[in-house]
Every structure is written in structure tokens, then in C-alpha cells.
Symmetry: C2
Subunit: 372 residues, 2 copies
Amino acid sequence: MGKVPHESIFDTPAVVIDEAKMQRNIDEMAETARASGVSLRPHVKTHKIPAIARRQVAAGAVGITVAKVSEAEVMAEGGIGDIFIAYPLVTETKIRRAIRLSGRARLILAVDSLEGASLMSAVAGSEGVVLEVRLEVDSGLRRTGVPRSEAVRLAREIATLQNLDVTGIYTYRGAVLEDGSPARDLAEAGRLEGEFMVAVAEGIRNAGVPIQDVSLGSTPTAEHAATVEGVTEIRPGTYVFYDRMQAQMGVCSIEECALRVMATVVSRPTPGLAVIDGGSKTFATDVQPNVTPLDLAGFGLVVGHPEAVLDRVTEEHGMLSLDEGSGLEVGDTVEIIPNHVCSTVNLHEEVYLRSGDEDVETLRVAARGMVR
Amino acid sequence: MGKVPHESIFDTPAVVIDEAKMQRNIDEMAETARASGVSLRPHVKTHKIPAIARRQVAAGAVGITVAKVSEAEVMAEGGIGDIFIAYPLVTETKIRRAIRLSGRARLILAVDSLEGASLMSAVAGSEGVVLEVRLEVDSGLRRTGVPRSEAVRLAREIATLQNLDVTGIYTYRGAVLEDGSPARDLAEAGRLEGEFMVAVAEGIRNAGVPIQDVSLGSTPTAEHAATVEGVTEIRPGTYVFYDRMQAQMGVCSIEECALRVMATVVSRPTPGLAVIDGGSKTFATDVQPNVTPLDLAGFGLVVGHPEAVLDRVTEEHGMLSLDEGSGLEVGDTVEIIPNHVCSTVNLHEEVYLRSGDEDVETLRVAARGMVR
């Protein structure tokens, strides 16, 4: 890391992206997908910025993944022509918005229930279109996604609906990592997830539904799932920046983390405490230290200050516990690698893309806060 | 609660404020302050919306409190003329912005260190202005604020600075509540905080610094602190909407909570699980169930569905654990009272102010995401 830029460039808190590191991350994942012969369709939830999505496509991605219709609208507006909304749309409002958007970009939608699929088909019929859909399958995370035991039945039912074209299945990732397995298990986790999905796809095809795509997400496991015969697509997101959680899982090194939050020490009330000008409005709290199975001390990693731990946050205050002899003083700037970068970016209106100490571009997080 | 409005009014997730409840909360706190003879200067971090700040002032507040210069700028633009930035400004950039703003509104700034105060005085001097400041005192929360033992010394030092006018002291709240004391302790907590601050103020006055204002924050304790002789101002924030955490502390009833998040069930993969279209991007995670000392089951309270607990969230998914026999189906709408309303509002671009099923106003959360 070079010297900290003068405050006239970055008032704090500021989210700063190292352009070279980010581009390397983008290129390496594209190469990983190419080497395994699978498509790359990155989830843009990590950056939420069309200009970065365009870099991913330029590096070889076939398109992008989003979770919300509103995110798809922002990305289509930003020049992305192939979008998978990997989230079940079950209301008429959202389905109609998606149909409107499908006039401007290739759109793939998601289903995981007959109720949702039936409504989608009916709305599509009323608008005279056929929608391409993928069936979400739960691989162990216990959120959306049909259980494996019902996947074939549901796929067949959906295939009978007039205005839906079922072209594939998808999942995010399984429970293997949810119990905090160490890094040496990532390869096996990815392989198991890939084999699981390929087997589900075979069952569906054997039942007479000729699906093509077998798509898996997740930065930690995607490269391993990609090596499984029959997997056709991966949808990692976090790799564009990486973060401390990924480093802790062994997915990347701390040096590969391309995004940092700059903050200023505003108070030094006692020898063991420094307070910075960012708390839970600046650093996401969805991955909590000492709660997640990962061994994360604090809400982020304070770069170059092993004596400082960001161990408490309130909305606007970040409390750094300091070992004796810390040189941090009021007015000093620190750089912090967030635990979870996706949810951290979602808190910020804009980020700075830095290719040199003086060469800084401001990017608006255009798809931030798109909850619908 | 009346019937759920049709989705054509609210696509979900949607933050919906009950206008009548909010106005009652605003009026009652104004009356509480009046009855105790103290000024009310609400912290607007809870709503971040100028129109609601104007209601607070109309009800009797002397002005507002914010944490950031950017928030002050938005509120001044929105017609608020008296603003306390209750956060130490320690960089030239922010101090100059505050000085620019002080031409448009009465501005009170905060200091808690000689380094910060010296810089503030120097910048003020260079611009030919005198700034009104309050000294922040730590009452037990261990974040910003000078320790009591150093308050008198620091107040005297700051009083010697040419371009600062020290007019008061302030604190947020003490540690009494941090250990999860039950509601019966709130009155004592507020009284102790008030007495603590009055004693600190007396010490400072006795040392020759004639401060006027003794200001305390916090919805749970403000009304009790207000009754202490010598306390001049309270700065509660959350009371405007209240939330589940406040209800759990005994500060309000669940019925007084004026803000709910509407969400839609998008998936029912198993009998015990319903997934809604809002996760950690919709419900703040800074107050975590089973981590906070409060007995909060889940990330929010599902109104009218005691059988459902929002016990897991990922960014876009909220997992409701269901007892057997829940009637929730795909497409159903639920209303959820968030654990922590301030940080939840900060996630949303806009909220809906509802005075009837058909009478709905969209309000932009204009000071959302103002981290600087």
C-alpha cells in the first residue's frame, strides 16, 4: 500500500478500490472459468456498479447475475445485455417489470415453487411472451430453492406451463461451508456441490425435461464446482474485491483484497481506545466477530496496525481496542478491510477507484439499496 | 393494523410509517420535555428525513441533533435552522464545511480532545469566525467523550482557545443499559446519568468556565434525565418510531412502534420454513438476536404471526422459522417491526408515510448513507 492520500482527495469514511487488484481478480476468475470450460456469470451484488460489471463482461463473462428486478434495470441501463435474476419473482408487479425489461436485454428468471411459476406463466401469457426460467434447487443452505426430493416433480410441472421455458437449474452453495469448514475443504465442497447439481439435472432430464444449464454460485467454491463434468456455469460475486471473510476461509490472501475503507481517528479518550469515524453505517455487521464460525477478531482488519482491533461499533463510532504503545493519534487515517464487502458496499453512495495516489475516479454505487 | 394494502401501492420490501402513531410519539416527547422544563433537540438519525424533522420542531423542539456535517447540510437545506453536530470534527475538510454551513443555520459543534479543538479554533480563526462548541463527556459507553477525570482540565484548555465558545457539555448515555438492565432500571439510569452530567458541569463552572448547557441523549433514559435539576436539554432519537429493542427494554409498547417493514413470502421450501424478500439489506443486523443482552428472538417481530421467527438473514433472504400449521403461503405479505429502526431506515432510499390505506406519501430518506 502506498502512502495515504491527502484528505483533500478522500474525506473519510471513504471506500477505496485498488484498480489494479480488482482488475487482476476479474481476469483471474475469467481465466478460471475458461480453463474449466464453463460460463462465468458474476453476481454483481458485490459492487453494484455498471462500470465494473462491464469490465467483467469485457474479461469474458457471458452476462451477470442480480437478485432484484431493480438491480437488473440499473445494469441494463448501464449497458449489460444478458442478466439472470437469481431470485424467485412471485408478485405480478415484479413479473411485469421483468417482462418490460426483457425487451431490452436477455433475461433469465428464477422459480422455486409452482405457485410462483404459475403466476409468472399467467402474466407472461397476458403479455404474449415466453420467459426463460431456471429452477432453484437447495443444496443445503436452507433458504430459497426446492429440496432435491421435489426437484424433478416441480421441474415437470413447470415444464407444462405454457409461457415458461425451463432451461436450467441453479443453486448458490451448500451447507458444507456454513459450519465453518477450514480452507482445505473448499475443493471438496465445490466438487460435492457440482456433483449434487449434475445429479439433480440428470434426474430432471431423465424425466423428460431437457434442461441445459447447471449453474452454481459462490466465490469460495465456484472454481472447484467448475471442474465437475456437467456443470455449465459459475456465478461468483465477492471475488471482484474479496474480503476478510474470504481470506479467513483461505480463498484469497489479504493482499488480494481490493477494497478498503479509509477512516479517521476522531478521539483517543483512553490509552487503550481509539475511536474512528465509521461504525455500523460504514462497516456491515451481517458477519459478526465471535458469532460467525470464522475466527474474525473485530468488524474488519486494520491494515498495518496489528495492535488495533475494531471490536465494537455503534452507528457512527468504531471502537479500536489498542495494545499499549499504539502510535495512533487524533486525525490519523487508518485503512480497514471489511469482513463482508458486499454488504459494506451496499451502505455507501459512492466509492473511489484508485489507480495511483493522484489518479482517482468516483463511482456511484448505482444499484445500491435496490431492495425491490 | 388495518388490512394490508394491495401490492400496487407497496411493492415489497417496503418501509411503511403509520403517520398517526409517529405524530403521537413526536407530540408526547415534546410534552415530556416541556413538563420537565428542558429543551428537546431530537437526534434525526432515526428518520433522516427533513419533513419529519420539521414536524419535531413544529411540536416544540428547539432544533435537531445530527452526527455528520453532511446530515447537517441536508437538514439545513430542508429548512432546519438550529443544528447540533454531536460528533467531534477533527479534520480541516469537515470543519471548513461546518463553517460554510454556519452561515445558514445556528450550528453547535462538538469537541472531545485538545487536538481536535485546537485545529477547529485555528480553522475558525483563518475564516474569521467564532464557533459554538460543546464538550463531549463519556458517561460510561466508552466511545467518544472525554473521561470525567479529565473533563475539567480539557474544558479549561478549550476555553483558552481564541475562536471557540464553549457553551455546554453533552453525553449520549451511560453503561447502565449496556448490560441489559431490565426496564425497571431505566428511571434510575436516566437519573444517574443526569446527576453525573450536572456534577461534571458544576466542576467545570467552578474552574471558571461558565458553561450553560447540560445535554443528554437516548430515548430510553432521556425522560428520566430530564427530571434532574440542572439538566437543560435532551436529545432522544428513536422515539419518533420506536422499535422492537425499545419495546423489549420497556420504553414503549409494540403498538407504539410506528414503522414496519412489509415483505412478501417468496418461497415455502419446507413446512417449517418461509423465505421473505428481505434479508440483511432490508433489516439492519447491528442488533443481533441472541447476542444482545436483550431477549430478542429473530431479526424483527413478525406482526400477527407468533408462529414465525425471522431467525436467519442473508443479504436478500429472510428465513422465517415456522411452527406447524402456519398459514403463510407464497405471495403472502407480512409486516415486521425491526429490532433497530435507525440502522434499518439507513438501508432504504425511501419510506412510505401512511395516514390511511389509500393515503400514502413517499418520502425520500434524504440524509441516508451520509457517512461524512
